[in-house]
């Protein structure tokens, strides 16, 4: 094993994970807001924000799907060592990680059931730019409207139509993260 992949986890896990959890929760609770994450130095092409979110949210009970060029031996080894999360295909994953085009089609992921809408996947999407521009967001956690640069519109509208089932999204770019829960209307 390349022992370099053992580096770069949280140095002080409890407070770092607590702060990161707060930031990810704020991102999800207030769609359109952008938050900074820090504390991890992951192997490429994993961004700091995606890596910190994974360290905070994943464990041995959350299968992770790595899409496209995110699926490298180093990324796998890093996630396995620091979180213990098993790897799976899209159909059984709790978290998926990749670029927007590599993650498609969204129909491959679990969206939960009427009894258990929580048994759905969260997609951690790597994007090249993350700004408060372009698409309009409305819904719970947004006072009037918010704006976020999303890769497209129809997929998120279709996802919202499944509510209370559906997927949740975290968009990551370098050390920044924003959330888009299934409850948000995109236009």
């Amino acid at each position: 094993m390349n022992t370099q992949v053992l580096d770069g986890g949280f140095a002080d896990p409890a407070p770092q994970a607590a702060r990161a959890f707060r930031a990810v929760m704020e991102a999800m609770a207030r769609p359109g807001t952008i938050h900074c994450l820090s504390g991890a130095t992951p192997p490429a092409p994993l961004s700091v924000a995606a890596a910190v979110a994974i360290l905070t949210l994943c464990d041995t009970d959350t299968p992770v799907y790595l899409a496209g060029d995110m699926d490298t031996p180093d990324v796998r080894a890093w996630i396995a060592f620091h979180t213990g999360a098993p790897f799976s295909g899209p159909a059984t994953c709790a978290f998926a990680l990749g670029r927007w085009d590599d993650l498609a089609p969204l129909s491959a992921y679990p969206i939960g059931s009427a009894d258990y809408p929580d048994r759905s996947a969260t997609l951690i999407v790597a994007v090249d730019a993350l700004e408060n521009s372009s698409q309009n967001l409305q819904g719970p956690g947004i006072q009037n409207t918010a704006r976020l640069s999303l890769p497209e519109i129809p997929a998120f509208q279709a996802n919202h139509a499944h509510f209370p089932c559906g997927l949740d999204f975290l968009f990551t770019c370098d050390d920044r993260i924003a959330g888009l829960p299934r409850s948000t209307e995109v236009s």
Binding site: M1, L6, D59, T60, D61, A77, A80, F81, G84
Partner: protein
Amino acid sequence: MYVAVKGGERAIENAHAWLAEERRGDPSVPELTIAQIREQLSLSVNRVMAEGSLYDPDLAALAIKQARGDLIEAVFLIRAYRTTLPRFGASAPVATADMACDRRVSATFKDVPGGQVLGPTFDYTHRLLDFKLAAEGETPPAPQREADPAPVPHVTGFLNQEGLIEEAPHDDTPPPDLTREPLKMPADRSLRLQALSRADEGFTLGLAYSTQRGYGRNHAFVGELRIGTVPVEMEIPELGFAIEIGEVTLTECETVNQFTGSKTEPPQFTRGYGLVFGQTERKAISMALVDRALRWEELGEDDTGAPAQDAEFVLYHADNIQATGFLEHIKLPHYVDFQSELELVRKLRRDVQSTQTKEAAE
């Protein structure tokens, strides 16, 4: 009617303070240490580990001290603590055939290889109170005799050689885990065994006894009872191989049950299985009897309607923390609910009275 009330903080704080004082008891009596509880009340510690479903003797001893010796309260504390621990993974199944046995007896075969090893048992004591223990004194060391280092084979293996006992074929299906997914019916045997291993000892004993008295009778003999330590091995992903991460004391009971055959199975002996943390043989034997009773369907036996054959009844009532949680909550304030009950009874009574008055008038 809804009455919002607030208050009780001071009463609760003071109750906690008094609880702590009562727990300590008379301060002129020396305080118990965790090590004393762990070493001298080890069977209580074992029970708390088994039903708390967490093997850690020091933690169990601490829980017993904090719970003033109330073992179900101690189990509750252990279960609550357990939920705070990150799970690193699951071990390889322990190899009980390689157990370093402190005790190993068979009620069915006198001359088993490895012999009948009594171990530190209460079985042949006279159950007379030993007043010498009321005074402090040295305990003489137990006698020793040269030991054969070879592992002690399982007794059921001998019946297997003749094909007279059902086999437990090797299987590596990952088992369901009721601490992760809520218990759902129908429950397969691996889920039942997990639930029984952490089940309340008293409840399991009562059910097992009911099968002996005829409610789902299955003619059990203790084919083998063994107590001892086994190493726990786990695959470590970052190493790429498995290592031993510790060892646990276990009690294993395998019953041999008379079975006259069914539509699907030939006449043979069948098996019930008990495996429990610690030296916990009453529980392990009870578990084996109840496990066997719950297997009626897969063995093609008749459902006699006995409680011990009813998986839903057994598994949904065997957990003493679920049971005590629901039972004890009814003593906590239900003012709002009860106010509406009161209103309802008053109304019903008014209705009855007015009907009676009307009837009397007619």
